[in-house]
Symmetry: C2
Subunit: 505 residues, 2 copies
C-alpha cells in the first residue's frame, strides 16, 4: 500500500512541477516577457496545462486514489499523507466531471471575451460586450450541469474558489455586513471633509519608493535570498516554490499609496505561500487553503498591520526621512488619517478599506442573480447603476467605470468576487485571536517588530497549506468554523469611528 | 499520410513547448531566481526533461517516423515538412540508443562533478577533481558504445555539438590554423608594447554602459518589443521563442570591454535565433544548425563587426560623448588598437581574438587524447602546462588558471570546445561571401548601417534554422561545404599585421 502511495505522490509531484513551470511562465509573461513573445507563450501554457490535466485525470490516477481509500482511512486525518490523498481525490473528482471539450470551449470563450471586453471598456459600450457575457453565462450553466448535487447553482461556481462554501452563507454574511456598514458609511460621508489624503499626492521618485517598500517588507519577512519584488501593471503575488516567492507592485511618481499598500498586500500573499510546511513542497497542498483565506492574509498585512497607527509610529519618521519635502510638515496624525480616508468612488480596486466591501456585495448579488436567471443580461447596466447609487451614493457616469470595470466576468470568473470580502472578514476573525495570544502586539509594532505575528500565522495557519478545507482551516486557527462578520464590523467601527469622531454611531 | 504528418507535428510541437518552458526556467535560474529557489527549480527542470524525453522516444513516435519515410521521400528535400521528418528521425535515432539508466547516471555524475570541480578550482587541487574526471571519461565511453559505427570514438561526442563533423577534419583544420598562427603570434609577441589597452580600464558607471550597449544592439536589430538584455554572472543568449530573445551581459565598473563586446557577442546568437523562419516555430528546427554555426554568428557581430575600424568610425564619437573623461584624449586609432590588443593570457574566456584559438586547440587535442586513452588522466596538469608553454609562451602558475579553469569537463561536455574555433573559422568563410555580395559593407558601417548585413544573414543562413546539417547549411551560405581555414588566417594576418606593423609576415 505504501508503494501505491509513493506512486501517487510521484505522479502528483510531476504534476506539481508542471504547474510550477506554468506559474513561472505566467509570472514572466506579466513581469518580464517582451510583448512579441505573447503568442508563443500562450501555446506553451496551453501545452503545459493540457499535459498536467491529462496526467491528473488519467485512469491510473483514478485507480490509485480508489485503491488508497483504506490506506487513507488508516492514517490520522491531519497527516500529510491522508490529507494528500483526500484533497487529490476531491480535486480529481471535480476535474473528471468536466469533459475536455467543455474545458476547451470555456478556455477559448474566455480568450475571445477578454479581447472584446477590452474594446467595450474602452468605448464604454456594454452592448458590445453583451454577447460575450451571454456566452459566458451559458457556459457556466453547462459547467454547473456537470455537478449533480447542489442546493444553489451558484454554489458550484463558488466552490472553485472557496471549497464547501455555500452562497446562502455568503448572502447572510453579506446582509449583516451591509446592515452594519450602510448607516455607518452614511455617517462617515457626512464628515468626509474631516480627513484629507492630500499628503499622499506629490512627487515620489520610484527608486526611493522601492527602497522604502523593501525596508517595510524586510520587517515582515521578505528575504532577498528567496523573494523578488518587481514592478508590473496589474500587481499580483506568485509562488514559484515555497522558497521562491515573487511579488509585484506598481509605482506612481505622483501618488504614494498604491506601491506602499500594494506591496504590503502582495507580501501578505507571499508570506502565506512561503510559510507552507516544506514537507508539502511539490504537492497540490503547497498553496493557501482558499481564495478567502489567502485574501485574509494580504488584507491583514496591508490593512490591520500597514494602516494601523502603531505601525506608523515606527515607520513614519523613516518615511519623513525618505521624503522630507513631502512629509516634514505633515504630522503622524494627519498622515494616519490620510491613509485611512473613506471616500466612495467608482472603481473597486481604488476603494478604501471601508467602502471596498460594498463594491463586492454589489457584484456578488448581481452575479448570483445572473446565474439564477433573475436579471435580463441586457439590463445589467441599469441594475448596476441603481444599486451602486443605493450602496455608495454615487451616480455612475458611464459603463467603463461601472459594470465594465472588472476583467473577471469576461474570463468567466463568476464566484470569485465574494472571496475578496470573505478575506476581509476572516482577517478580523483571525486578528482577534492573534490579539488574545499576543497581547502586546501593537507595542511590538511600535518597536518595528513583526516576527511574533508572522510566526503565529505560520504556526497556526500558513504551515497547513491546503491540507484542510477553508472551514477546517478556520476552525484550526480561530477555534470556530463559521464565518463571523462581527469582528470585522467591530474593527471598522472602532477604527473609523475614532478617525471620524463617530464613536457611538 | 498527411494526417500522420500532422500527428507527428502535433507531438513535436508539444515537445517543443516543453523545451521552451525549460528554456525559460533556465534563463530565469541564471538571471532572476532568488538563490533559495534552486532545489525546487532542479526538480521542475528534471521533470520537464523527463516528460519531453519520454514523449520523444515513445513507440508511437518511432512508428510515425517509420510510417512517414515514403511521405518524406515524396517531398522536396528542402521543404519544411521533409526537413522536419528527417531531422526528427535523426534525433530520435540518437535518443533511443541511449538507455534511460545511463542518461540518469550521466546527469547525476555531472551534478556531483560540477560541485567537486568548484571546490577543486578554489583550492587549485587537480587531484581532488581527478576521480570525477575519471568517472566522466568512463561514462563517455559507455555513451560512445551505444553508437556502433564510428571511425573515431571522439566523433560520437563531437556529433552532439556539430552533427556529421569528424574529428579528423577538425584535427587537420586546427593543424593548419596552428601552423599559420604560431609564427605569427611569435612575431606579435615581440611587438606587444606597440599596443596598450589602458583606455578600456577606468570608471564606467553601469547604467551608462547599459545605455551605450543597447544603442549598439538596436543598430544590429535588437527590438525591445521582442528582446531583453539583462545582467548576469556568466553571460549567455537564450531564445524563448523566435519573437522572444533574451540576451545577457556582465558589467564591470572599471573595465569596459566585457559588457561592450559580450553584449554584441550574445546579440549575434540572438539574431540567429530571431531570424529563423516563423514557419519553423514550435518545432525542433527553430534553432541554429549547430554550435559551430551559432558561434560563427556571435563571433561575427562581436569581432568582424564590433572590433572593426569602420564600426568605430561611426560609434567612437558617441562613446566619447558617453564617457568624455575617459576618451576625450584618446584617438580613434588608439581606441581601435586597444580593443584589438593581442596578449597571451591564462584564461580562455578572457583571451583576445587571435590567441583564443590556441586555447581551444589545446583543449581539443587533450580531450581527444583522453578519449583515445593516450593520456594518463593523473598526468593532465603536466600535459596541459607544457603544451600551454609551447602554444602561448606562458608558464602556468597553478591549476586554477590552468587545467581546472573551465566547467565543461566536469559537466561531461567533451566535444564542445572545438566548436568555438570552428565558429571563428566559419565566420570568416561567410564574411568573404558577404563582402562579395555587399561590396560597400564597410562604408555602410561607417554610416551606422547594419541592416543589409543582418538581412543577408537572415536570408542566407538564419531562416533555415536547423533544417539542414551544418555542412549542408554552410554549403547553402558559402557555396562550399567544407571547413576552410584560409579566410580566417587571411583576416587575422591582415588585421593584426596592420595593427602591429607586421604585414608581409
Amino acid at each position: 500500500m505504501e508503494e501505491k502511495f509513493l506512486e501517487l505522490k510521484q505522479r502528483l509531484m510531476e504534476i506539481a512541477d508542471l504547474n510550477k513551470a506554468a506559474g513561472l511562465l505566467g509570472w514572466d509573461q506579466r513581469v518580464m516577457m517582451p510583448p512579441a513573445g505573447a503568442a508563443a507563450r500562450a501555446e506553451v501554457l496551453a501545452t503545459l496545462g493540457k499535459i498536467a490535466h491529462e496526467k491528473f485525470t488519467s485512469d491510473e490516477m483514478g485507480k490509485l486514489l480508489e485503491d488508497l481509500q483504506s490506506y487513507e482511512e488508516s492514517l490520522p486525518y491531519d497527516s500529510d499523507e491522508a490529507s494528500l490523498i483526500r484533497v487529490a481525490r476531491k480535486d480529481y473528482e471535480k476535474n473528471v466531471r468536466v469533459p475536455a471539450s467543455l474545458r476547451a470551449e470555456m478556455s477559448r470563450a474566455s480568450s475571445q471575451a477578454q479581447q472584446v471586453w477590452v474594446e467595450a471598456r474602452q468605448k464604454s459600450d456594454f452592448h458590445h460586450f453583451l454577447p460575450m457575457l451571454e456566452r459566458q453565462i451559458e457556459l457556466r450553466h453547462r459547467y454547473i450541469e456537470c455537478f449533480p448535487n447542489f442546493q444553489d447553482p451558484y454554489d458550484v461556481l463558488l466552490d472553485d474558489f472557496e471549497r464547501d462554501m455555500r452562497s446562502e452563507e455568503v448572502k447572510s454574511t453579506f446582509d449583516q455586513l451591509k446592515e452594519g456598514l450602510l448607516p455607518f458609511m452614511e455617517a462617515v460621508r457626512e464628515r468626509a471633509d474631516l480627513v484629507s489624503d492630500a499628503p499622499l499626492h506629490g512627487h515620489f521618485p520610484v527608486e526611493q519608493q522601492r527602497t522604502f517598500c523593501l525596508e517595510i517588507l524586510k520587517h515582515f519577512g521578505f528575504d532577498p535570498n528567496g523573494w523578488r519584488l518587481d514592478p508590473t501593471v496589474h500587481p499580483f503575488a506568485s509562488s514559484i516554490a515555497i522558497q521562491d516567492i515573487r511579488i509585484t507592485t506598481r509605482y506612481y511618481e505622483n501618488f504614494l499609496a498604491p506601491a506602499l499598500f500594494g506591496s504590503m498586500h502582495e507580501c501578505g500573499h507571499g508570506l502565506y505561500e512561503n510559510g507552507v510546511s516544506p514537507s508539502l513542497e511539490r504537492t497540490l497542498l503547497a498553496r493557501g487553503a482558499s481564495h478567502g483565506l489567502h485574501e485574509s492574509q494580504s488584507r491583514m498585512w496591508e490593512n490591520l498591520v500597514g494602516r494601523s497607527l502603531p505601525f506608523w509610529r515606527y515607520f513614519y519618521p523613516k518615511l519623513q526621512q525618505t521624503f522630507p519635502l513631502q512629509f516634514s510638515m505633515v504630522s503622524l496624525d494627519q498622515f494616519y488619517k490620510a491613509i485611512n480616508k473613506v471616500q466612495p468612488s467608482f472603481i473597486r480596486v481604488e476603494a478604501d478599506e471601508a467602502t471596498y466591501n460594498l463594491h463586492i456585495i454589489l457584484r456578488f448579488e448581481i452575479e448570483r442573480e445572473m446565474i439564477h436567471g433573475e436579471i435580463e443580461l441586457r439590463d445589467l447596466p441599469e441594475v448596476w447603476n441603481s444599486r451602486f447609487k443605493d450602496y455608495l451614493g454615487l451616480e455612475i457616469p458611464n459603463d467603463s467605470v461601472g459594470v465594465l470595470q472588472d476583467i473577471h466576468w469576461s474570463m468567466g470568473l463568476i464566484g470569485y468576487f465574494p472571496t475578496y470580502s470573505l478575506g476581509n472578514i476572516i482577517a478580523c476573525q483571525i486578528w482577534e485571536k492573534v490579539l488574545e495570544d499576543i497581547p502586546d502586539l501593537y507595542e511590538q509594532f511600535e518597536r518595528g517588530q513583526f516576527m511574533a505575528l508572522r510566526e503565529w500565522l505560520r504556526e497556526n495557519l500558513h504551515r497547513h497549506g491546503r491540507k484542510f478545507t477553508p472551514r477546517e482551516t478556520l476552525q484550526k486557527v480561530t477555534g470556530k468554523a463559521g464565518i463571523d462578520v462581527q469582528p470585522y464590523l467591530r474593527y471598522l467601527k472602532t477604527k473609523f469611528g475614532e478617525i471620524y469622531g463617530l464613536n457611538g454611531v
